[in-house]
Symmetry: C2
Subunit: 398 residues, 2 copies
Amino acid sequence: MKRIAILGSTGSIGQSTLSIVENFPERYSVASLAAGRNLNVALEQCRRWRPSVVSMADEALADTLKTRLAAAGITGIEVVHGTRGTIEVATLPDVDFVVSAIVGVSGLEATYAAVRAGKTVGLANKECLVAAGELIIAEAHRNNVALLPIDSEHNAIHQCMRGGRTEEVRQIWLTASGGPFRTKPLSEFANITVAEALKHPTWVMGRRITIDSATMLNKGLEIIEACRLFDLPPSQVKVTIHPQSTIHSLVEFIDGSILAQLSVTDMRLPILYALSYPERVASDLTFDMAKIGQLDFSPPDFERFPCLRLAYEAAEAGGNHCIALNAADEVAVAAFLQEQIPFVDIPRTIERVLELTPPGHPATIAEVLEQDQLAREVAHQSLGDQPQLQSFSRPFRQ
Amino acid sequence: MKRIAILGSTGSIGQSTLSIVENFPERYSVASLAAGRNLNVALEQCRRWRPSVVSMADEALADTLKTRLAAAGITGIEVVHGTRGTIEVATLPDVDFVVSAIVGVSGLEATYAAVRAGKTVGLANKECLVAAGELIIAEAHRNNVALLPIDSEHNAIHQCMRGGRTEEVRQIWLTASGGPFRTKPLSEFANITVAEALKHPTWVMGRRITIDSATMLNKGLEIIEACRLFDLPPSQVKVTIHPQSTIHSLVEFIDGSILAQLSVTDMRLPILYALSYPERVASDLTFDMAKIGQLDFSPPDFERFPCLRLAYEAAEAGGNHCIALNAADEVAVAAFLQEQIPFVDIPRTIERVLELTPPGHPATIAEVLEQDQLAREVAHQSLGDQPQLQSFSRPFRQ
């Protein structure tokens, strides 16, 4: 029986994880939950799963949850809050496996604490590897902790890696759908609207990740994650455009063999893989190889998607530049979604922030958070810097 | 240093194996060769590789080779002949790895002897697994001997199998190009000419295997090989039509993940994989995943390709029926190539022979060879049995 802590239990990955626990009660149980801000779902999860500890985003929410639990006659659940609470959830002595699925930098401290406490960690939070990858990987090595990727691309790589030893890998190939603008002429990029950018061809996702998919910054973050997770230089992490998203990624070995992983596009599969690794557990997810039809592959266009180039540069520089890439993108995407800057200014903002970022490698999570804050400030300042911005963005402003 | 015996050294697989030994002299050396009937190539291979033993098909060829070696001043090579000679080549005490690449049933005895002698065997000969698979696999288990497939499909499966344990496999998928008649209407099959059937879309191969590709009996034999090699019932071995032959085959695991192997279509890759297993050795074979373009997958048509159905039936029955499938096909294909029977009579002949085959499982290689002989006789008799044959084949006969 694996006892699971879920950081981000009310989100999509958290709920998928709970649906797996539901299906395999003989294998997995819920030890503790970090539920964030959604009180109703948190209460429901407490009722159903009876975790020993649950953490809410702040003290007020924790107090309300306590009251509601008491009113519902649910006892024996310790309610904690904040970063400290999340860390408690992640490091309880009886936890075997931590699902790290809190979106953004707020999951860093608790994930790092889980690794330090020797827990096996399933990583669904991009920031853990992009912003704090060097620290977390070093700590995982030190504690001999397994980090199992819970996203389709890196999970595919993890599976394909089993076909050889690490030193037998020539390079890896991340597949990318290419997003909604894969075939759009570069000349039309200046006029891309928010509505156009939010239409992703294959996956339904949150707003930031959908825009990141349209700029391909999303794939850029995955390049950095892959470098950290599989200990590869950026030159050994390639991207191939595969609009159908059927092959989730590939590993090319030194002898010229390439292994690929395919499956239905269902997040339960990588979660189940991570929870059950090194075993595999039978699921009802199927995929008829005789009926999948056509798969296409083509090279990525670095001119149309400058975010890819920026990500390679950040991956090469490491440390502060990876933090800045992520932070600047978050700020720029928010500005785009509020129609403050045009689509093409997302990479311009990131590039400006990267240029202004001093080289360096944070030695603690606190330093990572500090760098992240700094990069966001620079990004906000940079939003006003674009020569194009004046003329373009004025009509959208109130 | 692995010392290699090559059964079938003058054939295509034999020569590819020697080109690998040439490229990796620090890893592999040639211990012994079974060279068959090609005296000139045999002499050249003796000159270049100085095997300790070389075997020719018969005594006369062996005597001529001895004379030619003496004339060339090449000493220290023992020249032997026949099945006994091939067995000596395969079982020399200093041999570590045997490449079994003699086409047809004549390689069975020596391959079986190699397994009994505890040698690791690279299998490029279909008959070893189709006709004698049950015996050879049982003997391999008894002697804890690794059998490594040297053909693109089974080699791909072997690589993908590393992604999980045997009991975690849900099913495997063999890819099939579909041959030259993949899209030809069934109504036109009666008029298929030898020249049409010999045009294979992706691979350049021998005449029998090219016709087997056109009838898809080739894939049928591979289904049986896969059942034996990976200990799977026929129901767990599926076929998907993939005209580009880029993905060489796939393994589907119980959790719903599918692993696929891709590479250039170059036989040196599976040979190198088998020779170096469990390691991988760097080669200059590359494959740009960003530039492979389009891959297609569709279900096989059992009506147009009855040989597939016959192969599943033979695989299910095992023993004598697998021997009969292979033997009847060889006779029928030879008759088609000599324009004695139409294309559509190849499966009809095989079906007739399978119907006339008594159930049974040979206990020795001698019994396998006996069953093979019997099946060939029945096949020859069946060639005249076809109701269509009279009218169709007469114009072609002399």
